[in-house]
């Protein structure tokens, strides 16, 4: 197991700077996911790690080796591509062994490795087929097999599941995770799909405009996003963000929440000093859809649950629960409720808002207030 260290990487194409100083340390055996909207620079970063493109400035270490000047083949990495990039003229067997042959590994050993990899990925009966004769999922397996065969120190995945249909994608996701648990090799995985990022990663790096916005565990980026971008990007349905006014009422700081005709004044007990600076000013309240519902387990013990009444605008049943959309302070808000409790559009519904894990953002800087 080998670590990967990215230090203040910059990359410019002509005058456009695509990466603006990225620093990430990946622990040995860690599964790091780079996620972000298209154009955020995540694939470029992966190509730089692979050595397929030249770094403008900064340093990349694989293990203890500075690899800035090392060619891709000598970096001890393997990469799985979105288009699979299988060699169309070669059989599956040859696709897997090609990298070993160029490295002049003895034939008998190559044969053994191919068998082992094929066995691990259950593609033994595909070994004598050409890529054109394989389905998308099978090609994906072969592409992974090709990467596995070399047993590299670092695996790089470039949106490997984007070309699969939804069902297969979920299956392969689980398999990749299982694979990682078995081989425990360091992985850097690029995706634009936040669910993939959440389910696979040990840590997620959320990127936007060539900058890492937040680098943290899936749970932390979900529960504690550092800014509005991360809050909106991670989670499905994304976090509700509502502009609210802070007022002083008696001893406590309260939020003015207007929904329908009524305005509720809701006290915030969490960390009282936090909002002191914001009295009589507006900030942005963020809470997840599951924090506004028809009821919570142990709700009696939680004194930060407040009741609201609001008119239902739209409902979206998802199966286990139903998303009910209401309007708070003129912003659409998603509430995750039990299907039985959901009212029809136009009706008024009683909802409970749990502010115990709500977070606040500065409406100008869009950063979390802490």
């Amino acid at each position: 197991m080998v670590s990967l260290s990215i230090r203040n990487i910059r990359k410019a194409f002509g005058t456009t700077e695509v990466l603006k100083g990225i620093s990430i340390d990946v622990a040995p055996g860690e599964f790091l996911v780079l996620v972000g909207p298209s154009g955020c620079g995540k694939s470029t970063l992966l190509n730089l790690i692979a050595g397929l493109e030249k770094i403008t400035s900064g340093e990349i270490f694989i293990g203890d080796h500075l690899v800035n000047q090392v060619s891709p083949k000598d970096r001890d990495i393997a990469m799985v591509f979105q288009s699979y990039a299988l060699y169309p003229n070669m059989k599956v067997r040859k696709n897997i062994s090609f990298g070993l042959e160029t490295r002049k590994i003895p034939k008998s050993e190559i044969e053994k490795t191919v068998q082992k990899v094929a066995n691990m990925l259950q593609i033994e009966d595909l070994l004598d087929r050409k890529p054109a004769q394989l389905s998308g999922g099978q090609r994906q397996r072969v592409a992974m097999g090709r990467a596995l065969a070399r047993s590299p120190s670092v695996f790089l995945f470039d949106e490997p599941l984007s070309n699969l249909d939804a069902k297969l994608r979920v299956e392969m996701r689980t398999e990749i995770k299982l694979l990682h648990q078995r081989i425990a090799t360091t992985i850097v995985y690029v995706t634009h799909d936040q669910i993939e990022a959440m389910t696979l990663a040990d840590r997620i790096a959320i990127m936007k405009d060539g900058i890492v916005q937040q680098l943290d565990t899936p749970r932390n980026v979900y529960e504690n996003p550092v800014n509005l971008f991360v809050a909106g990007f991670i989670g499905s349905h994304s976090m509700n963000v509502v502009p609210v006014r802070v007022v002083k009422s008696g001893q406590s700081n309260c939020l003015l929440i207007k929904t329908g005709e009524k305005t509720f004044t809701i006290p915030v007990d969490k960390n009282p000093s936090l909002l002191n600076k914001w009295i009589d000013r507006e900030l942005i309240l963020g809470f997840r859809p599951e924090q506004i519902s028809d009821g919570f387990p142990n709700q009696a013990e939680n004194n930060q649950i407040h009741t609201l009444e609001s008119k239902v605008e739209v409902i979206e049943p998802t199966g286990p629960d139903t998303l009910v959309f209401i309007r708070i302070n003129d912003k659409k808000v998603a509430c995750r409720v039990h299907p039985n409790a959901a009212r029809h559009p136009g009706e008024t519904m009683k909802l409970m808002l749990d502010l115990s894990s709500a977070i606040f953002f500065d409406s100008d800087t869009e950063e979390q207030i802490s």
């Binding site: 692979a50 397929l52 083949k73 591509f81 990039a85 060699y87 169309p88 090609f98 160029t102 070399r150």
Partner: protein, 295 residues
């Protein structure tokens, strides 16, 4: 979708007449386009007496291959009376190396211009493309000077060199456009797998290049075999290609004009390119459109 009712029109007399008209017209057109060739073939099989007494499209009174034998082996071209066979082989000697070399270099160029772009490569490619648009006659004098300096004037090697250089613009364009349709990720994967510049070319790209090779070979072979201008300017005497020889044969007049020999020689001169197109033509169309439709 496959309901036969949709496609089967009711069989009325009107429909039948319509079909008859369409096919009749098509057959007429085929005949019209083939007529010159039919006349050539028929004339080449006639005797001179037959030609003098009959008309252009009359059926031969007796079939004879004499004119073909004369054209191939004993017709007089300028002062030599050895037929066009020498010149036929000259053309073969020009076409084979010129096509092979220009195609291979074009493949390598196309590979570099599509997969190993470097600073200025786009500009260089555009400049190279200009070569497709330079008229033959514009380069005759400078090329003659160049060949003179290289000591290749009036030689087969010189003519081959001219054809290679002139063909490169086209072959490079063909291969570059074909390789652009092959995903870059393939090259990236191969680089990570440890393959270098040449290995990627040989092992990954060349094996999938058959369609464009066919296109390139047909194109280059047709161009070079049919070339007259370069042949007439850059070769002399026994080194001339068949197109020039054919012209000389027709223009060498001693007594009566042997139309049957002229026709036979013309067909011999045209046969190789016709054959190539008939044998590989379907790949030509396929290759030209390769990559344009997602497969």
């Amino acid at each position: 979708m496959n309901d036969p009712m949709v496609h089967t029109a009711p069989k009325t007399a009107g429909v039948f007449a319509g079909r008859l008209f369409i096919y009749g017209l098509l057959i007429l057109m085929v005949f019209y386009f083939l007529l010159p060739f039919i006349v050539m073939v028929l004339t080449s099989l006639k005797t001179m007496a037959d030609i003098r007494t009959g008309n252009l499209i009359s059926w031969p009174r007796e079939f004879t291959l004499d004119a073909w034998k004369t054209a191939w082996g004993s017709a007089c071209i300028a002062v030599e009376c050895n037929g066009i066979k020498v010149y036929f082989w000259n053309s073969v000697k020009i076409v084979v190396p010129a096509v092979t070399i220009s195609t291979l270099i074009g493949a390598a160029n196309g590979y570099v211009f599509s997969k190993w772009k470097f600073w200025g490569s786009e500009v260089l490619f555009s400049l190279l493309l200009l070569g497709c648009f330079i008229p033959f006659q514009a380069i005759l004098l400078p090329m003659a000077q160049t060949l003179g300096k290289l000591g290749l004037s009036q030689s087969l090697a010189g003519l081959i060199l001219v054809h290679i250089i002139y063909g490169l613009a086209f072959t490079t364009l063909f291969f570059r456009n074909y390789y652009v349709t092959i995903p870059d990720e393939l090259v990236k994967a191969a680089r990570i797998d440890g393959a270098g510049f040449f290995r990627i070319f040989w092992k990954i790209l060349l094996p999938v290049s058959t369609p464009i090779f066919v296109v390139c070979v047909i194109w280059q072979m047709t161009q070079i075999w049919n070339d007259f201008l370069f042949g007439v300017v850059f070769s002399a005497g026994g080194n001339q290609p068949i197109t020039v020889a054919l012209n000389n044969l027709v223009n060498t007049s001693t007594g009566t004009k042997a139309y049957n020999v002229d026709m036979a020689a013309a067909i011999i001169a045209a046969t190789p390119t016709l054959l190539v197109y008939i044998v590989a033509g379907k790949y030509f169309v396929r290759g030209l459109t390769a990559g344009s439709v997602k497969g």
